[in-house]
Every structure is written in structure tokens, then in C-alpha cells.
């Protein structure tokens, strides 16, 4: 019998699991490419098809208003990918194989984060490139722009735990379907496409309190783009809120995910 090597640290294993996702891209590029095409299509549809009819409160060009919103929406849509990956692994028995191996649950979760953040970065890069082509510009400084990107990934990281949690408690393809349907109203009921100031009061309030709106506003401010916000706490506290909302989501869903993972042992 070979001597078992010493247990590997979680980060090394997480990196191996992240590489698995990168290999998926190389092996099956059609899936990420379709994902990217979809983002581009949505972007062009809103920028040119509906954009002409939408005015930004406080002034400003609609395309430059729209782009940070699209970035944020892409982070939200990434949730589907997390859930899909989780439920495929569970259905195939790969989750059980990992659980029977000498690797910790933290490595599996970190590997998932690595893979999903990598795909989000790719998505962001493509959307930013597309945005620059149709007239979106960063008018602030490099530091602010970097902070904006970090805030977007911070939102993605917090949504990751929702995806892991849902993937662990709901088995089968039904859960993925449900999320695919529910994610649209959540994404649209925000300030991604239109400013809540143009909505009926109660709807605007919901949209304003949507965590997606916080990140969208903060990134608009940090990229130096029009925010569509003329007054109120959003105008000042955007960045703070974009830190706080994902933090709150993580604080709720990370422990819930860990608990759901432990409960697989029941």
C-alpha cells in the first residue's frame, strides 16, 4: 500500500477545483460563449432598443448609466451558474465523492468561489469591452474604478453563498428552474435599467432597497457615470451600502450553507 501523503491545505485543493472550471471552458467553450452572447444581447437591447425612451433623472447619457447596471445584473445572473454546478455535482455523486475524500468542506466551497469569480471576471471583462465600444467611459480615476470592480465581485461572492445554500437544500433540476424564473423580477426590480425615481412610490422603494441597486449605484459613482439619483441617502451612502448589503447576505448565507453541508450527514 502506498503511504498516504499529508493532508493538503484547503487553498491548494480550492485551486485544483477552480482549475476544473477553467478546464471546462477549454473543453466546452460553447456554454460560456453563449452566456457572454446573452449578456451582450441584453446590453444592446437596452442600450439601443429601449434606451432611447428612457430618461435618466439628473441628466446624463443612458448608455453610461446602463453599463454599471448591466455589470451588476451579470453578478446576479451568475447565481444560476453556482446553483447549476452545485446540483450537477450532487446529482452525479461527485459531491459525495468529495465528501468521502480527505479534503475539507472549506476547500470545496472555496473552489466553487474561485471558479465562479473567474467566470464573473471573464463576463465583466467582455461587457466592459462591449461597453467601451458603444460609448461607455470611465471618467474617474484608476483607484475608484478598481474599487468598483471589487464591489461587483464582492456582490458576486455574497450571492455565491445563496447559490451554494439553495444547491444543497433543493435537489434536482427543479431548483435551477425556479431560480432562473425568480432571478428576472429580482434583477429588474432594481435601478439596473431605470431609476427608481421614475417608478410609482412603493415600487421605487422596493427597487431602491434591492441589494442589486446598492451595488449599481456605487459602481456608477465610482466609474464617474450618471447615477440617476438626485437626492436621498442613496446619493451619499451608495458605496457604504454596496459594502454592507453583500456583507449581510454573506453573514446569513455562509453559515446556512455550512449548516446545510453538515446536514448532508443526516
Amino acid at each position: 500500500m502506498t503511504t498516504p501523503p499529508a493532508p493538503s491545505p484547503a487553498l491548494r485543493n480550492a485551486w485544483i477545483l477552480t482549475q476544473r472550471e477553467l478546464l471546462h471552458w477549454v473543453r466546452q467553450p460553447a456554454l460560456p460563449i453563449f452566456g457572454l452572447l446573452f449578456s451582450i444581447m441584453l446590453l444592446l437591447m437596452f442600450a439601443f432598443l429601449f434606451g432611447g425612451a428612457i430618461a435618466v433623472p439628473g441628466g446624463g447619457d443612458y448608455v453610461t448609466f446602463l453599463l454599471p447596471g448591466m455589470f451588476t445584473l451579470t453578478m446576479l445572473f451568475g447565481l444560476e451558474g453556482t446553483l447549476q454546478a452545485m446540483s450537477t455535482d450532487a446529482a452525479k455523486g461527485i459531491t459525495d465523492r468529495f465528501r468521502s475524500m480527505p479534503i475539507g468542506s472549506s476547500a470545496v466551497a472555496l473552489g466553487r468561489s474561485g471558479a465562479d469569480l473567474a467566470s464573473s471576471i471573464l463576463n465583466l471583462a467582455v461587457l466592459m469591452g462591449g461597453g467601451l465600444l458603444i460609448g461607455w467611459r470611465i471618467t474617474s480615476d484608476v483607484g475608484s474604478a478598481l474599487l468598483a470592480v471589487l464591489l461587483l465581485l464582492w456582490l458576486r461572492f455574497s450571492l455565491l453563498w445563496i447559490g451554494i445554500f439553495l444547491g444543497l437544500i433543493f435537489r434536482g433540476p427543479g431548483a435551477t428552474m425556479a431560480v432562473q424564473v425568480l432571478i428576472w423580477p429580482i434583477g429588474f426590480l432594481s435601478n439596473v435599467f431605470v431609476s427608481p425615481e421614475t417608478m410609482p412610490g412603493w415600487l421605487g422603494a422596493i427597487a431602491q432597497w434591492n441589494p442589486i441597486s446598492a451595488t449599481a449605484t456605487a459602481t456608477r459613482q465610482l466609474f464617474g457615470n450618471p447615477t440617476g439619483v438626485t437626492s436621498g441617502w442613496m446619493a451619499d451612502g451608495g458605496v457604504l451600502l454596496a459594502v454592507a448589503w453583500p456583507l449581510a447576505l454573506t453573514l446569513v448565507f455562509l453559515p446556512l450553507s455550512a449548516r446545510a453541508y453538515r446536514r448532508l450527514r443526516r
Binding site: P7, R27, K92, G93, D96, S100, R266
Partner: protein, 311 residues
């Protein structure tokens, strides 16, 4: 004598249902043990308890000397788990799969690559090694799955219904693989619903039902436990079947199977029973289609044990 697997009074309840009910097991190192039982008997629960996937309510399970409750990490380094469906990445190639699992088991990149190549070669997958797994046949997929469980040459390999859903060819491929693994010194715990599979592969067998051990021993012991040979009369005409049954009812109750037009009766006296059956049929003026004496099979053992159990 060393045992690689020991279960003592393992109990696991799901609500009111006992998946395991004081289940006991001892498997000698280096042997193949077959866990036999109908659907829902608790076979998978035994495997999941041994491989640290679930916590049991009471009792203990020891794998290669490590207690699953107090030393789960040591257990995980001593086992390979082959679940009911092949747990391999469909998009990656066979070699990429084995390399990924090898590196997760702690091997360096080069060591993982050479181990992957070794295993691909051993399981006849070298040629398919760089193709995506989604294009593999069921048997190939299963062999890759088993290879992934053998990366560290585990002390114990668990196979949960490894041939379910495979065609006869895939089945015999997997059987050959399992024999190979046991010859190399790994203890194998195999769950199956197929009696011939247990008969073919296992050194010892535990028959379980409703979470409990119903019988255990070597295949021969189990067959002997049921004892008698059987006289099987095949009739020409279904209308004759009751008359045949009446005439061969000597000291055991015959079993009538209308589908195959057979009457089967245990014959504790062996060949003498066959002779008696011939005389009885002759006296009744019945000419059978076929008349045979056969050794009990594991099917008979299984049916009689589980019938007793459910009665």
C-alpha cells in the same frame, strides 16, 4: 485474523423507518464481501456509514482500524468510494479526471499524471484518456469511476451496485476489474441486488432486509443452509400443472410457476427424490416436458430468506 471492516449494532433511523437496525458486519482483510438485499434493505446506508457520509444514531463502524466517528479523516484516507452513479466529471477527459482526483488526494502534478496514466492503462482506457467522458460507454465510465477510487490504493473499496444499468459486456468488464482489485490486496465491500453477481465475486455474503442481517456466510454455506436439491418438473400443458404438483408433493410443498410451466419441489434425499418423482408422475399417467434435479441457487436462498422475513 484481521478485519478491515467491522460494524457493531449500527442503527440509523429516518423518522419511523429504521434504515439500519443493529446491523453487524465483519469483513476479513483482502476479501470480497457481498451485501445482498432488495431495494430499500439498507445496503447503501451501510456503505454511507462506513465511508463517513452519514452519522449513525448508535453503534460503531471501523474501517481499517479507524473509527468513523472519532477518526473520519483517517477513514477517508483509507477508502475508495464508488457510488451508484459514476461520479466523474463528464466534460473533462478520463486523464483529466484522474489527475484532478489524484491531486485532491495530495499527489503532486507529476505524480498525479503518472498515476493517472498507470490506472488508465490498467483499466484499458489509455486510448480514450483524452476524450471527454460524456462520450464513454457505461462500462468505460464505470471503470474510470473505479480507477478514481483506487488512486491511493485504498485499504477498502466500497462499490455500491456497481453494475446496475450496465449491459452484459459492461458487467463482465466490471467483474474482472473487481477481481483484479481484490487480488492486489484491497478489501472490497460490494452491494448488489444480483445474486449471480454475489455468487460470482464474493468470498462471503451478508443477506440483509429492512436494515437487519438475515443471513451470512460463504455462498456455499448459504446454499447448504437451505440444503436440499430441487426436482424441477416442466409440464407440457398448463392444465396439468396442479395434478403434477399433487403427485410430486412428497414431504415438501411444491412451488408452482405458471410462467415457465414448472413445478419445483425440494428433495432432501437428493437423486432419490428424482426417482420418486418419476414414479409418481408415471403412476399418475403424466408425461413431463422435462424433468431435472438442480442444486439450490442463491436465488432460492434469497427468496426463502426474505419470504420468511416478510411473513
Amino acid at each position: 485474523m484481521t478485519y478491515s471492516l467491522i460494524a457493531e449494532r449500527l442503527t440509523k433511523r429516518y423518522g419511523d423507518v429504521a434504515a439500519l437496525d443493529e446491523f453487524d458486519l465483519a469483513v476479513r482483510a483482502g476479501s470480497i464481501h457481498g451485501l445482498l438485499g432488495p431495494n430499500g434493505a439498507g445496503k447503501s446506508t451501510v456503505v454511507r456509514a462506513f465511508s463517513t457520509l452519514i452519522d449513525v444514531d448508535s453503534g460503531s463502524a471501523t474501517v481499517a482500524g479507524h473509527d468513523t466517528r472519532t477518526a473520519p479523516a483517517s477513514v477517508r484516507r483509507s477508502i475508495g468510494l464508488i457510488g451508484q452513479s459514476p461520479a466523474v466529471d463528464e466534460i473533462l477527459g478520463g486523464r483529466q479526471n484522474l489527475m484532478m482526483f489524484g491531486r485532491l488526494f495530495g499527489l503532486g502534478r507529476d505524480a498525479a499524471r503518472s498515476r493517472a496514466d498507470e490506472l488508465l492503462d490498467r483499466f484499458g482506457l489509455t486510448e480514450a484518456g483524452s476524450r471527454p467522458v460524456s462520450g464513454y460507454s457505461g462500462g468505460m465510465r464505470r471503470r474510470l469511476d473505479i480507477a478514481a477510487g483506487l488512486i491511493l490504493t485504498p485499504a477498502v473499496l466500497f462499490l455500491d451496485e456497481p453494475t446496475t444499468g450496465l449491459d452484459p459486456r459492461g458487467r463482465s468488464e466490471v467483474w474482472a476489474t473487481i477481481r483484479q482489485i481484490a487480488e492486489a490486496g484491497t478489501t472490497v465491500l460490494l452491494t448488489t441486488q444480483y445474486l449471480d453477481e454475489a455468487d460470482q465475486l464474493a468470498d462471503t455474503i451478508t443477506v440483509m432486509n429492512a436494515g437487519r442481517v438475515v443471513a451470512s456466510g460463504t455462498p456455499d454455506e448459504l446454499k447448504r443452509q437451505l440444503g436440499a436439491d430441487r426436482v424441477v418438473v416442466t409440464v407440457k400443458d398448463a392444465a396439468d400443472i396442479d395434478r403434477v404438483a399433487a403427485s410430486v408433493r412428497i414431504d415438501r410443498e411444491p412451488v408452482i410457476d405458471l410462467a415457465s410451466l414448472t413445478v419445483t419441489v425440494e428433495s432432501p434425499a437428493g437423486a432419490a427424490g428424482l426417482l420418486r418423482a418419476v414414479r409418481a408422475l408415471d403412476a399418475a399417467g403424466i408425461e413431463p416436458e422435462d424433468l431435472a434435479l438442480r442444486r439450490p441457487t442463491l436465488d432460492d436462498v434469497f427468496l426463502s430468506l426474505t419470504r420468511k422475513e416478510n411473513a
